[in-house]
């Protein structure tokens, strides 16, 4: 009986495992896969080139991409092609990260945000505006007007293997 009380007393003075979510949040692992973000280059251009490979890799068919053509007057991303529409249905997404693996420009990254709740199905569709990162400090967003011919490659240059 005393050993039983002892156990209770011991636990009463131990650190509490429960936290008072949502005021407090548990840190996640570096490799945790939460909500996606579309990344930008340092110059503010979008990394996403609208190639749809993430949609092709997606096992849950959660991603919808429609592409369009860049011009130098209205440039969204380097190269000729950008994503006009980019949507992820978060109800379908299983957070497997295949899209991240498939992306040739490292544009889509599964970040640490995990608080996703919706009150109707339409809200579960995250559009490009909701997914894309803000432009870096002091840089304008997209579309940008750029020098002709300055950004003619979609995929960053490769190097010889070291």
């Amino acid at each position: 009986m005393f050993s039983g009380f002892w156990m209770t007393i011991k636990h009463a003075f131990m650190d509490r495992p429960t936290i008072s979510y949502p005021e407090e949040r548990r840190p996640v692992h570096e490799r945790f896969k939460g909500r996606h973000a579309l990344k930008r280059y340092d110059n503010g251009l979008e990394k996403c080139i609208g190639c749809s490979l993430c949609a092709a890799a997606c096992p849950a068919d959660a991603i919808w991409v429609e592409a369009a053509e860049n011009t130098d007057d209205e440039r969204y991303s380097p190269g000729e092609r950008y994503a006009k529409t980019y949507e992820i249905n978060m109800l379908r997404c299983i957070f497997c990260g295949y899209c991240e693996d498939a992306c040739p420009t490292e544009a889509i990254v599964l970040e640490h945000e995990y608080q996703l709740s919706f009150t109707n199905r339409r809200d579960a569709i995250y559009t490009k505006d909701m997914l894309i990162d803000n432009p870096p400090e002091g840089r304008e967003g997209t579309p940008q007007t750029v020098e002709p011919g300055a950004f003619d490659r979609s995929i960053p240059d490769m190097e010889n293997p070291k």
Partner: protein
């Protein structure tokens, strides 16, 4: 190619046709895809890419006895070529031995891929070809996986070069296979593309002005084995694996070209499935794997902003939108028993639509006039009698065949037939061109015969003595109606039929008559019982009740203006047109992309098309609309499916007897197998899964049939004074094509007339002129050229803003409105 020889591929014997190409044979008979880039089965091999290297040998035979020399173990001995040979430049012979999987061959392929990739950019993610690219596929299958070359040595070239308005070139991606230049030279005969510079600097350039000026430019993007050539229309619209291909048919021409509609959901189109691109569908008997640019890029009308979405009913002098029930009720109320009825069917109505239209018109009045628009050609019954024999294929025509083209600028009117006639000519067929003016086909003609407008019949009658006709083993006549009235064309068709019957060229394959109908399903309309003579009668005496469907006669043809006098007009239309403006009820019908049905091509091939696009608004198929009206009138039953309507039709129309939807959907494997889903040759959606169609026999093909004689009066018409000759132009402002997107609008251009220098005394080329015919002034750009015969002015149909003449018409005056710019 009937003689068979035995060849050995990787040790296995195969019986294959003698003289066939080794690459085709290995693919078709041995399912052994020897990798190729430059070789294409439709073109002469050049052996440029060196990708198809194989070990080649022949079985040794004793020179004296011809016996096979065997080795110690009893196996036949093989004399091998000392080095690897290109399979694409090899034709198969008896006893040929091929090895495609030895170390030497594998190493050669490895090296070739490595060389090709030294300067190929790695932008597959944004390339329109990515996913259906032979270079991608062959790299995965045969590539070395690593390169010994330095990345820094990669050549950087321009990535965005517009070759014309329709085609973009990415110089970096080009692997110099010369398929595009060879296609333009060998197949189309427009040598507008060429190689420039040599070695690492080798580039594709266009050498025409305007750039890449041809009606077949889109085909180069299909055969391009990489993404170097892409179309402006499909650019970045979707990735190939996201598209769903639906079998369909060309709606513009009489050739019945088989196409695939690549479809995908689209947000901007309101979340419906739309056509993203049009691709050719392999049908070796119809269009092989080629389609014209009009077919390829002219699909935007199916979802144009101008599409009607709701029925409209006339209230006073306005048309107001109404519900279907109300519109049908209005029609029902206005149909009195036994009023005079006319039905005008456009060339884009399917056989099922025509059948239901006929049933409706005859339900109102058994003597209803069933007519076809445009009423420029006649003789559907003649085609049914002496049309080309079953099994006719331009591909089989060569030496011994004579192809006569009469009164048609076939490049503008039936581009696929032009292309196939031209290629048959290259194979040795004799081409005779009879026309009052020079056309493009004259360049390839063995003989060009000029007649004066109005004298075509006697020119055809004189052909009987022509050496190319008397010596012909096979004879095909392709008959147009340029510079003719309907009556004159009837005479011409008789004369053509007469020539064929009297020389015995009917009732067998590769012999007979073809008419260059103005539209996709004119032959079907004739078969179902419609006629162009009825149109002419109707224009003379307008019936009280008029059903018009699938055309815009009042907007296109000056002769049709009187139709608006009918007391009650019901129009089925995709758009608001001048014809709907005079209608009492306008019903929104569906485009070919939204529904299924059958068309009958000029070669009498009945073919199916399938629903591809999401339905726009409340539009309905034409046949269902007619059936609903009929049902409202007399309560007779309405079929539930298009297949049911066709079954009913096939039961009543003798020529269609025995045809069913499943029979039309049968696909057989075709040689060469360009259409496989392994994307072997082309890397595009050639695969035919919608059916090859069925060609129904002409009556002259029946056993013991004696074709009747066709009498002609041979009367010549002579024209006095300046006469306007309406001519067909591929890119026009016709009922459907008018609603194309910006890309095609540029190609249509502004109205023009061609005037002979002798008639253009005070008119400078390039000036704007007003041509007055029958009190109407047509404004157009004047082109002064010998192309127009003296005394005649060529006036393309459906280009001018006002409806123009469809038959030769006397010109009252030509006045200059504005001098040429810069003069």
């Amino acid at each position: 190619m009937s003689e068979l020889v035995t060849i050995y591929i990787d040790g296995q014997p195969y019986e294959v046709p003698k003289g066939a190409n080794l690459v085709d044979v290995a693919k078709f008979y041995a399912d052994n895809g020897i990798p190729v880039f430059c070789y294409h089965p439709k073109m002469e091999p050049v052996g440029m890419c060196r990708m198809c290297l194989v070990e080649l040998g022949t079985i040794m035979r004793d020179r004296d006895s011809g016996e096979v020399i065997t080795g110690e173990n009893g196996e036949p001995q093989v004399r091998w070529f000392p080095k690897l040979q290109t399979a694409c430049t090899t034709t198969v012979t008896d006893g040929m031995v091929v090895r495609t999987n030895t170390d030497a061959v594998i190493e050669a392929r490895d090296d070739m891929i490595e060389f090709l990739l030294t300067s190929h950019p790695l932008d597959c993610p944004i390339c329109d070809k990515g996913g259906e690219c032979p270079l991608q596929n062959l790299t995965m299958a045969h590539g070395p996986g690593r390169s010994v070359f330095y990345w820094e040595d990669k050549v950087r070239l321009a990535k965005h070069v517009p070759l014309g308005e329709l085609i973009y070139l990415d110089r970096e991606r080009c692997i110099q296979c010369a398929r595009c230049t060879r296609f333009q030279d060998e197949i189309v005969g427009d040598d507008v593309l060429a190689f420039h510079e040599r070695g690492r600097e080798l580039q594709i350039i266009t050498v025409s002005d305007p750039p890449f000026d041809t009606y077949f430019s889109g085909n180069t993007t299909d055969i391009c084995p990489v993404g170097a050539l892409t179309t402006a229309d499909f650019r970045f619209e979707a990735r190939p694996w996201e598209l769903k291909d639906i079998a369909s048919l060309d709606v513009y021409g009489p050739e019945g070209a088989n196409i695939s509609l690549s479809t995908r959901l689209d947000r901007d189109a309101g979340g419906i499935v739309i056509i993203k691109r049009v691709m050719p569908r392999q049908n070796e008997a119809v269009n092989e794997i080629w389609i014209s640019d009009k077919t390829r890029f002219g699909h935007h009308h199916t979802r144009a902003a101008e599409r009607l979405t709701k029925p409209k009913v006339r209230v006073g002098d306005r048309l107001v939108e109404a519900e279907w029930d109300h519109a049908l009720e209005v029609i029902r109320k206005h149909i009195k028993p036994n009023v005079s009825v006319g039905a005008i069917a456009g060339p884009t109505l399917s056989n099922e639509d025509l059948w239901e239209l006929r049933k409706l018109a005859q339900a109102v009045n058994a003597g209803a006039k069933l007519s076809i628009y445009p009423a420029t050609m006649t003789g559907g019954d003649i085609i049914a009698q002496v049309g080309v024999g079953v099994g006719t294929n331009f591909k089989d025509m060569g030496s011994g065949t004579t192809i006569v083209v009469v009164a048609s600028d076939i490049e503008e009117e039936a581009p696929i037939w032009y292309l196939r006639t031209k290629v048959a000519g290259d194979r040795g067929a004799k081409i005779l061109v009879l026309n009052a003016r020079e056309t493009r086909l004259d360049h390839y003609a063995a003989d060009s015969i000029r007649y004066d407008y109005g004298a075509a019949v006697s020119a055809v009658n004189d052909l009987a003595k022509h050496e190319a006709v008397t010596n012909a083993e096979n004879l095909v006549l392709i008959c147009g109606a340029e510079g003719m009235t309907l009556e004159q064309h009837g005479e011409l068709m008789n004369a053509c039929a007469n020539l064929l019957v009297s020389t015995g060229h009917v009732g067998r394959p590769n012999n007979g008559l073809l008419a260059v109908w103005e539209g996709a399903n004119v032959q079907g309309a004739f078969d179902v019982g419609f006629s162009t003579e009825a149109t002419a009668e109707m224009m003379a005496k307008v019936p009280d009740l008029l059903f018009i469907a699938g055309c815009d006669p009042i907007g296109e043809s000056a002769e049709a203006a009187g139709l608006s006098k009918a007391k009650f007009i019901v129009v089925n239309s995709l758009f608001d047109t001048p014809t709907t403006a005079v209608a009492d009820v306008v019903l929104p019908s569906q485009s070919f992309a939204e529904r299924d049905g059958t068309f009958t091509s000029g070669e009498r091939r009945v073919q199916r098309f399938y629903p591809a696009q999401g339905v726009i608004g409340q539009s309905q198929t034409d046949w269902r609309i007619f059936a609903s009206i009929r049902n409202g009138l007399n309560g007779s039953a309405v079929q539930r499916l298009t297949a049911g309507v066709f079954k009913e039709l096939a039961g009543e129309i003798a020529a269609y007897e025995g045809l069913t939807y499943p029979a039309l959907a049968v696909v057989e494997r075709q040689f060469p197998d360009v259409g496989g889903d392994d994307l072997y040759y082309g890397g595009t959606a050639y695969q035919n899964n919608g059916g090859l169609g069925v060609q129904y026999p002409a009556t002259s093909e029946a056993e013991g049939a004696k074709p009747s004689k066709f009498a002609t009066k041979g009367k010549k018409t002579s024209y006095k004074g300046l006469t306007a000759i309406p001519v067909n132009r591929l890119y026009d402002r016709g009922y459907l094509f008018k609603y194309s997107d910006e890309l095609m609008q540029q190609r249509i251009g502004e109205p023009f007339v061609v005037i002979n220098p002798a008639d253009a005394a005070n008119i400078a080329g390039g000036s704007r002129v007003g041509v007055t015919i029958d009190g109407v002034q047509y404004e157009a750009l004047a082109v002064v050229s010998e192309d127009a015969p003296k005394g005649f002015v060529l006036m393309p149909k459906r280009l001018t803003s006002q409806p123009g003449p469809f038959a030769p018409a006397a010109i009252e005056t030509i006045e200059v409105i504005a001098e040429p710019v810069g003069a």
